[in-house]
């Protein structure tokens, strides 16, 4: 107990200080926009970049700082696909479902991954390990079908290879 407690304390202070830092960074973004209500989308982008997703507390604090009703902030956050109100998985796999990828069999790739992971597109596994997402178009049509695995774009994706790579990530 005695040996683990100091380590625990450091960890806690660390999270707290990084928390403070994130708040500071968010505040700096709002300040740069002079807390103007029309900067809402820019501010939400920054908030999601810092925190990974938008919690109700975060939305309320943004509303207060930009002098907006919370309903307006919630409305904007839920209108745009880019913003997420739930935590993302540790890993993420995005299948492009743009027309070019679709014509080249992206729907089958998604279907096989959905089966493999037991998830529907847009869901995160119960253990928080992986999020499976579908994108409307990544603009990488020249290398269709395209898939993004943890930020890395994979062109000319082959279902079997992709399934192996996903399985390896989850090991």
């Amino acid at each position: 107990m005695t040996t683990s407690s100091p380590a625990g304390t450091t960890l806690q202070t660390k999270t707290q200080s990084s928390d403070d830092n994130r708040l500071k960074l968010l505040e700096a973004t709002m300040k740069r926009h002079q807390h103007r209500p029309d900067a809402l989308i820019e501010v939400l982008h920054k908030a999601q970049e810092l925190y990974g997703y938008l919690t109700p507390e975060l939305l309320i604090s943004v509303a207060q700082r930009l002098h907006l009703p919370p309903s307006r902030v919630y409305g904007v956050a839920t209108f745009y696909h880019f913003f997420s109100l739930v935590p993302p998985g540790e890993h993420n796999c995005t299948i492009c479902l743009g027309t070019a990828c679709y014509v080249k069999g992206a729907a089958a790739i998604l279907g096989e991954l959905e089966q493999q992971l037991g998830l529907q597109a847009g869901q995160t596994s119960a253990d928080g390990k992986i999020s499976l997402l579908a994108a409307r178009c990544l603009g990488a049509c020249g290398i269709a079908p395209a898939v993004v695995l943890d930020g890395q774009v994979i062109g000319h994706a082959i279902p079997d290879e992709l399934q192996t790579r996903v399985a390896e990530l989850l090991k």
Partner: protein, 531 residues
Amino acid sequence: MDISELHAIAERERARRTSIRIHCCTSSGCMASGGVVLHEQLTKAVSAAGRQAEIETVAVGCMGFCGLGPMVVVEPEHLIFERVRPDQAAELVGALAGKPCSIERGDPQHPFFARQLPIVRRNGGQINPERIEEYIAAGGYQALYHAVHDLEPNEVIEELTRSGLRGRGGAGYPTGLKWATVAKSRGERKFVVCNGDEGDPGAFMDRSILESDPHLVLEGMCIAGYAVGASQGYLYVRGEYPLAISRLQKAIGQARRLGILGSQIFDTAFDFKIDIRVGAGAFVCGEETALIASIEGRRGQPRPRPPYPAEQGLWGFPTLINNVETLANIAPIINGGADWYASIGTAQSKGTKVFALTGKVRNTGLIEVPMGISLREIVEDLGGGTPDGVAVKAVQTGGPSGGCIPASLFHTAVSYETLAEVGSIMGSGGMVVMDASTDMVELARFYVDFCMDESCGKCIPCRVGTIQLHRLLSRIRAGEASRAELDDLEQLCNLVRDTSLCGLGQSAPNPVLSTLRYFREEYEALCQPEP
């Protein structure tokens, strides 16, 4: 900053260059195929060969042939290398000293390259988009200088009107007329907005222009600001395009430092500032009134027009909204003259159009072709037909707002009018090729699913109509529908088209109507037999 300084920058840049330049594509498509690592390896290989004094490696923008990336082109001899792996870097550098080389070589005379006419993509694959000096050495910002020093705003608009340029976002509204309307509108302030919310699935022209030649778009926006009397511009870019955003940010900073953006541009009384607005993933924001709402920090929902944004746009002020490709055409028109531009294309559709040629086609990538070229030339000559040589069934242009054109109509020339006549639209430039394996009913359902999901929910015909269209198409697809329901489908399509508030709903039925028109037998084959 005056013209002699601009020339001096260009001169210094040309003097700095080595005799051989290895151009390595690092745009999104090639980046995904390993372009950045390849560029690093090529730089190392040049050092290892001890040839840094005569060879430089340049990370350039999109060369267009994305399907064969990463692409490397060695200038001035214009040697094309395709699908180059990073471990082949030393071999490639060796090949320049005459050593044998097993890397796939491209033919510059291949129709994919030879049939193109690059105007807005002229610098793609030629310059490093992250260095303003390279853009200036390629003649950049001279059009802006000429405009603000030698031309009155109305003369700029006059030149544009005579050029015959029309909006490249899809609708094809005459650009000169739009500029003239904003110039005439009265307002304390005016704005220029560049619409870079390229949402059509299967289209990546604007992404490539923004990534490969960001200054070209900035220069177009500045000239637009001067012509209509605006001092603030907004560049609205999709959040899905991080590379484009970072390159634009860099480009804006560089231009500002040289006094090309900001106050007293080129030592005149003209001020112009550009800010970036990052989209958050909503297809409807490509519609201009929704785009305005989004820039104002609200939900991207359209409003009825009139009043048009040219009279009442951002915060109620007159606002000029142009698509990326339209703005990329401005500097070349000012440099080359209206007569030159108007000599390209057809009577009603002037200049060139960039298309993203994708799907079941051998050569995938970006092409810029003169208006008036036939669909057959694009698909068969530039595209090389299908990869396995089977017959092409149709091409889809205009994304979810467009339609499918069957192979029997491939003699159709590409122009705003002719594509509309065959039931599609020019659109922003997506061109997806399909072969016999593509199920047209399923494709129609795919597009309606897209529009259903992207409907903003403001007007009922679009919000409810797209859901009902999707339900009907699913029934047909599952073989549960009767033939009479095909008529219901058509009726509903007409209703949604005629009564929706904005372009999204008005054009959502297009993919269904065009496939019903040309591939009705596929629908009928799925219907239950008459009792």
